[in-house]
Amino acid sequence: MTGDAPLSRPPMGTLAFWCWAAAFTGVVYLAGRWVTNDYVFFAGYIVLQYVLLATAWNILGGYAGYVNFGTAAFFAIGAYISTALNKWLGLPLPVLILAGAAVCGLIGLLMGGLTLKLQGVFFSIATLALAIVTQALITNWEYVGGAAGAYVIRPSRGPLGGSYVEYLFYTMLLLATLAVCIARTVERSAAGYGLAAIRDDEAAAEAAGVPTMKLKVATTVLSGALMGAAGAPLPFFVTYLDPPSAFNLAVAVNTIAMPLVGGTATWIGPVIGAVLLSIVQEAAMVTISSAVNLLLVGLIMIGFITLAPNGIMGLLRGRRR
């Protein structure tokens, strides 16, 4: 994973990329208006949720090489902030997403400040501890149901017309697109080069004048905020939120596996990994067996780590050479 040079840069500039991404979102939105089967939106939501999570994870884990095992904590905090504010003030979903992102960004700032002096496995253990501590706190937060969980009754119709699940799908589409655009912008910016330098050799990067600590903290804030945004719509998607489902192991495992499978050095790697793995898992759930789901993820991860450590994008780059 470390030591990768970014793939050959696409010629497209950042502004053009954002425009293309907006156009893509618009096309998917228009195509979605023709879909009458809600299952497509349910399955699509999960795929997009993982695109968002994998991209968010990759900003810190892929670009800077700091492996975060605390994805589930940020995701769950976003979900619980959304649940609490919905119960308290009944705010609209976009505001809940912003609130979830803001709180998770703040937690990223605190966590980054406290733990980013630790490197390698020590940082990863600290993020794992965050997930455990957060789960214990939320399990005892009675306002959002504590261990018993919280019910969220969602409206049957979305504000855009169509079902509320359709609205959730478009919201997640927007968030995932935004995350990918942000990730690509970071990757191609001076900060992206700084992060790549940190990933390759942090001491050398520091010696070369890269503000390593500032960059790492800023990246943790950004990554955490995006993960929080991914969790915020979850209560409306599930309609029932309890700690075991919010802190589900599959979220943490998938979020790490997807960038590893797609390739961690570029923005497209997590997208490819997320789409591929989540579709495989969804197909496995309704055809073979769910028991095979995580086994598949594990086998694919082992396969890529041993045979293609730079993921699918690494394989493609090797072929081009």
């Binding site: 089967n37 809600d38 299952y39 349910f42 399955a43 999960i46 214990a136 399990t139 005892n140 504590g146 261990a147 018993a148 969980g149 019910y151 009754i153 969602r154 049957s156 079902s163 699940v165 979850l234 998607f237 599930v238 309609t239 029932y240 939120l241 309890d242 075991p244 489902s245 589900n248 599959a250 969804e282 759930m285 309704v286 055809t287 073979i288 067996s289 769910s290 028991a291 789901n293």
Partner: protein, 419 residues
């Protein structure tokens, strides 16, 4: 009748099994009546869900052997939700929108709740099993539930325990409440607090413990230090075994010990705890002492038990199989009675009918729950060593409550078993 199967048919069947393992191909035929359900076949709830699946499969085999319903075979379509509520919405969407199932069955509280909006948005009938007080929030008129909690779910888990406790002479005055920091146990202990108020008892210990707890000695010591007359515990299988063992090891002997202890209903835990269960009071859904009044249950269990042993699931089958079989019986009777699967007609039929099932007569109230609760509170008696067979004796479970099913009085203090 020839039993020979052509090679092509065998290949097609094999391919079908590989592609759609959640469908019972043997039941397929012209225009089958399809019943869709999400089951937690993997994850924390897997052992119960596998028992649910086996019971449902036995029903489907039975009904198809009799020619199906309205001359149509019954087909079960199920998907594994991995014990994760987040998977339930899309599983039920697929079942209804893609698989176009005729009837929807859910299993478990946390897995039924996320299915509710999907079902409600499509105006479908929902038959829930093993779900606690889900419809209290939704108030959906097409919801029915076959777990015998009755209209006051949280109360039903503890009411029988306290009714039995108040029969102790002299009456108990103090109570200790303890439960895992998790959904079911918190609901159970919350219901117990209401019972404490109702019976004028004094709480001398009221704590929760984190679900990963493995050492229950300190908890039992803490309870013992407060000297309660009775102890009510809301626990999950591992905690249940840990609490009972710790109480035995420490020689703790209150007047009454037990509560809403998940696990005491299941063969594996019963067999493992064996005589340590003596005098413990817990809830059950069916016990052999009911066999005289429910004569169809034992023959069904006789067929279930060997298959359960093969499948590695609860080998006694007292907990869910009778209830699950009855759930499917109700659906079949409703389809037969209304002449189809029109959801309006089915709802009205189920609401208006008292169903004769192997699990007894079942009638539903306005909230879709049993009109009258039938949660059993039993005291385990006469157990020696370890082993499963002794639990098949009618006197191994003495029913304390409800009064109509009562087979004996509470034995106090809590003293039996090996200390």
């Amino acid at each position: 009748m020839s039993l020979a199967i052509s090679r092509r048919a065998a290949l097609a069947a094999s391919a079908g099994t590989m592609l759609f393992p959640g469908t019972d191909l043997r039941a397929q035929g012209a225009n089958p009546i399809t019943i869709g359900c999400g089951l937690s076949l993997t994850g924390a709830l897997a052992s119960t869900a596998k028992s649910v699946l086996l019971s449902a499969q036995i029903f489907v085999e039975d009904i198809n052997a009799k020619g199906g319903v309205l001359g149509r075979p019954v087909q079960l379509i199920h998907y594994d939700d991995q014990s994760n509520p987040a998977n339930a919405p899309r599983i039920y969407t697929k079942l209804i929108d893609v698989d176009k199932v005729d009837l929807v069955v859910t299993s478990g509280t946390n897995l039924t709740t996320p299915a509710m909006p999907v079902v409600m948005e499509r105006n479908r009938l929902l038959m829930a099993t093993l779900a606690l007080a889900v419809n209290d929030k939704f108030k959906y008129p097409r919801f029915f539930q076959t777990m015998p909690y009755g209209p006051h779910g949280a109360e039903a888990i503890s009411a029988g325990f306290f009714n039995a406790a108040m029969g102790i002479d002299p009456k108990p005055k103090t109570v200790a409440l303890v439960g895992a920091d998790a959904e079911f146990s918190k609901t159970a202990v919350s219901g117990a607090r209401d019972q404490v108020k109702k019976h004028g008892l004094k709480i001398v210990y009221d704590r929760t413990y984190p679900p990963p707890t493995v050492d229950f000695g300190p908890i039992i010591r803490g309870i013992a230090a407060s000297s309660p007359d009775i102890v009510y515990i809301g626990s999950y299988p591992i905690d249940t075994a840990g609490m009972i063992r710790s109480a035995r090891e420490l020689g703790f002997k209150p007047q009454m010990f037990g509560g809403g202890m998940v696990g005491t209903q299941v063969g594996g835990i019963k067999a493992d705890l064996g005589e340590a269960l003596n005098d413990v009071v817990s809830y059950e859904l069916y016990v052999p002492a009911m066999a005289d009044k429910l004569p169809l249950v034992e023959p069904m269990l006789k067929r279930y038990q060997p298959r359960a042993a093969e499948a590695g699931v609860d080998q006694l089958g007292f907990y869910v199989p009778p209830q699950i079989y009855a759930t499917f019986e109700i659906l079949a009777q409703a389809v037969q009675g209304t002449g189809g699967t029109d959801q309006d007609k089915l709802t009205n039929f189920i609401r208006a009918t008292t169903f004769k099932t192997l699990y007894g007569d079942m009638a539903f109230g306005p909230d879709g729950e049993w009109r009258e609760p039938r949660m059993l509170h039993v005291q385990y008696r006469g157990l020696k060593g370890q082993g499963l067979e002794q639990f098949k004796r009618p006197d191994a479970h003495v029913i304390l409550d409800p009064p109509v099913w009562k087979t004996g009085d509470l034995r106090a203090p809590f003293a039996g078993g090996k200390s």
